[in-house]
């Protein structure tokens, strides 16, 4: 079974702090994704990566950056957290870039910025 783990389930940070969310997958998947989930909006793609050190912007990249130094690890960085970044953050991975492959999700990190 594919396992996608996220470093924290719940996180509380102050406005202006730099925040790191970590994601690790154990099945040698090429693609990794970061989404944020908000009620009524579904999942919105922040960034994705299809290879080590490669990244592409999703629909809502503003205020975020990412890092993928190793194939199994994909980090989301909030350079200066703001209250409108309070959300559920989901990491996912998929085997190949081919669009037929489903994504496997981690349990999510609920981030609150005060």
């Amino acid at each position: 079974d594919v396992k996608v783990t996220q470093s924290s389930r719940y996180l509380v940070k102050r406005t202006g702090e730099k925040v790191f969310l970590e994601c690790v997958q154990d099945m040698d998947h090429e693609n990794m994704f970061w989404y944020r989930q908000d009620p009524g909006l579904g999942l919105r793609l922040i960034y994705f990566s299809y290879d080590v050190k490669m990244k592409e912007k999703g629909d809502i990249p503003e205020g975020y950056s990412v890092s993928r130094e190793k194939k199994e690890r994909f980090s989301l960085i909030l350079e200066s957290a703001s209250t409108n970044q309070t959300s559920m953050y989901l990491c996912a991975s998929s085997l190949y870039r081919d669009r037929a492959y489903e994504q496997y999700f981690g349990p999510g990190t609920r981030l609150t910025v005060t």
């Binding site: 579904g42 989901l90 996912a92 669009r99 489903e102 496997y104």
Partner: protein, 110 residues
């Protein structure tokens, strides 16, 4: 670009009743279609997917979905729901990339 519309944000239903969760999509190219389920405090997991072939797709936990190309729909159905089916359900369409609907919260009442 493709888009997905889940027509109902909330669906309450009694235990052992049938249920249908509706999903419509738009795309200028051929698509692959997916349904995911999210139980409380968990990530999403795949229920079923349509890639090609038979338009009726069976998934886990007794769910099935039918791909209707002319109506651009991919509705999810279950003939008899259980309390444990209470969750949020997401339809997703994959063309150039994967797009998720806003979700339908299914609540099964005893």
């Amino acid at each position: 670009a493709q888009s997905v519309t889940q027509l109902d944000s909330q669906v309450p239903v009694f235990e052992e009743a049938p249920v249908e969760l509706r999903c419509n999509y738009s795309s200028s190219v051929s698509v692959y279609l997916f349904w995911y389920v999210q139980y409380p405090n968990q990530g999403l997991q795949l229920l079923l997917k349509y890639l090609s072939g038979s338009t009726l797709v069976k998934g886990i936990n007794g769910f099935e979905a039918e791909f209707n190309k002319s109506q651009t729909s991919f509705h999810l159905r279950k003939p008899s729901v259980h309390i444990s089916d209470t969750a949020e359900y997401f339809c997703a369409v994959s063309a150039h990339d994967m797009r998720f609907g806003a979700g339908t919260r299914l609540t099964v009442k005893p």
